[in-house]
């Protein structure tokens, strides 16, 4: 799958996850990924819209985009360091 010029190497489908939740799933995926890899997270959790950008910014990664899809939100994140 590709989003703009970024090739998504992993999709984390965290729809329906309230605990541990989509951000925890993203942190796990980032830890396992290589620098430069792009991860897409699907979330139905309302908190993700504030959580994910906050964490990505603090941890020094790159939020490439946030997209409203059919019943869920997709976050595209690049591991930057």
């Amino acid at each position: 799958m590709s989003s703009g010029e970024h090739k998504v190497s992993k999709i984390v489908d965290a729809r329906g996850s309230h605990c541990p939740g989509p951000l925890m799933e993203l942190i796990k995926a980032i830890k396992n990924a290589q620098v430069g890899e792009v991860i897409s997270v699907y979330s139905t959790d309302s908190g993700s819209k504030t959580d994910i950008p906050l964490w990505v910014n603090k941890a020094g990664h790159e939020l490439i985009g946030v997209y409203e899809r059919d019943g869920y939100t997709e976050f595209i994140v690049k591991k930057a360091r």
């Binding site: 984390v12 489908d13 965290a14 729809r15 329906g16 996850s17 309230h18 605990c19 541990p20 939740g21 989509p22 951000l23 925890m24 799933e25 942190i27 796990k28 995926a29 830890k31 396992n32 959790d45 309302s46 908190g47 504030t50 959580d51 906050l54 964490w55 603090k58 941890a59 020094g60």
Partner: protein, 376 residues
């Protein structure tokens, strides 16, 4: 004779075996393979660490006595699972063939994945809890930090719960004013879900527990007694408690059944492994984005038993797992919260009460009978 093989006789494996045994499926053997003859109640590790439980025989039972008589128990270790040829290879040299396979091998801790891990304590094994208890008893003041060394881990509320219980423990020892408790939260909140996070934050503020948002432990400098986060922050501590990183069981990794750390990919509703409709995984072993908790293993076990039973009597399996999770968080001073949610319905804001504290005591008590037997 058909064979249902269950690898792992912890919470999920024991429930699924007992529920299946009660179905009295004709001409079918139910075999549980577990690498230990004892079954340990893991939620009690926290209480062992805090000295509320000292007699370890109270949190351990013989697995044989917990299983229905119709279930065959092999105390052995599965070394390899070959789903293509429907075989499980055991350490003793035995080889089991199966018609249905349930993998309930749980998770294992890998603290060594965090540089400097030897400086940190944990309560994720009985041995770890015992050592932490001895250390706490000698601790007379300073900074205690409680953090998370890797995701996913068992029982997401456990570290926040442990902080609240430390407050209770030091208050009882009359040294609370000499101790600073710091909770290193991996998230921008105290708990994954907003509504629950609010209750836990209020409780932590009331107890003067300092909480640090977005602090995922990356390394520990044991000489300087400093813990560093993935996000670039540091904290100086006197006593560090770290939830260790977890991985799936070795047999899952060796058999190449897992992804991203040995977690088995299953359908979130049917719990079936990829295209192998006769292979299921339940409990901590799966890669589902839900809590690694005993309640999950228990609910999933019942779904899988129902599905296998339907299949054996020629019906289309229709039971599905709806993502249900229930859990308690004990805040000390005989107060707790209770949460219940599923894939569709998030948890509501819970209130700390004595009632839920009693609820947690009931679960601890009825674990051995009603829960493991699959009666509730």
């Amino acid at each position: 004779m058909k064979k249902i093989v269950i690898v792992g006789g912890g919470t999920g494996g024991t429930v699924v075996a007992n529920v299946l045994a009660r179905k009295r499926i004709s001409d079918t053997a139910i075999i549980v393979v577990n690498d230990s003859s004892n079954h340990v109640y893991q939620p009690a590790f926290i209480y062992r660490a805090l000295g509320e439980i000292i007699d370890e025989s109270k949190i351990m039972r013989e697995e044989r006595k917990l299983l229905d008589k119709k279930v065959e128990l092999l105390i052995d270790r599965a070394l390899k699972i070959d789903v293509q040829n429907r075989q499980v290879w055991l350490e003793s040299g035995k080889q089991l063939e199966y018609d249905y396979l349930i993998i309930s091998t749980g998770s294992r801790i890998v603290p060594e994945e965090v540089p400097g891990y030897r400086a940190a304590h944990h309560f994720y094994t009985l041995e770890g809890a015992r050592i932490l208890h001895e250390t706490l008893e000698r601790f007379n003041g300073g900074v205690v930090a409680v953090g998370i060394g890797g995701i996913p881990y068992k029982c997401p509320p456990a570290p926040a719960e442990f902080c609240c219980l430390l407050d209770y423990y030091f208050t009882k020892r009359k040294i609370r004013d000499k101790v600073e408790i710091h909770y290193l939260s991996p998230l921008p909140r105290t708990f994954p879900h907003e509504a629950v996070a609010e209750s836990i934050r209020e409780m932590m503020e009331e107890k003067e527990i300092h909480w640090h948002p977005m602090f995922n432990i990356e390394s520990i400098d044991s000489e300087r007694r400093v813990v560093n986060s993935l996000e670039g922050e540091s904290l100086k501590y006197d006593l560090l408690v770290m939830v260790p990183p977890h991985r799936g069981a070795e047999v899952v990794e060796r058999s190449e059944l897992g992804v991203d750390g040995g977690w088995i990919p299953v359908d979130k509703h049917t719990l079936q492994y990829r295209d192998y409709s006769e292979v299921y995984a339940i409990g901590d072993a799966t890669n589902l984005p839900i809590s690694k908790a005993g309640s999950v293993a228990h609910f999933e076990a019942k779904v899988v038993a129902e599905r296998i039973y339907s299949d054996t009597i020629g019906h289309k399996p229709e039971a599905v797992y709806d993502g249900r999770v229930t859990c308690f968080c004990d805040a000390g001073f005989k107060k707790a919260i209770y949460m219940s949610f599923n894939y569709e319905n998030p948890p509501k804001k819970p209130r700390f009460s004595y009632l839920w504290y009693l609820g947690k005591q009931m679960v601890n008590r009825f674990y051995w009978s009603l829960i493991l037997r699959g009666i509730v």
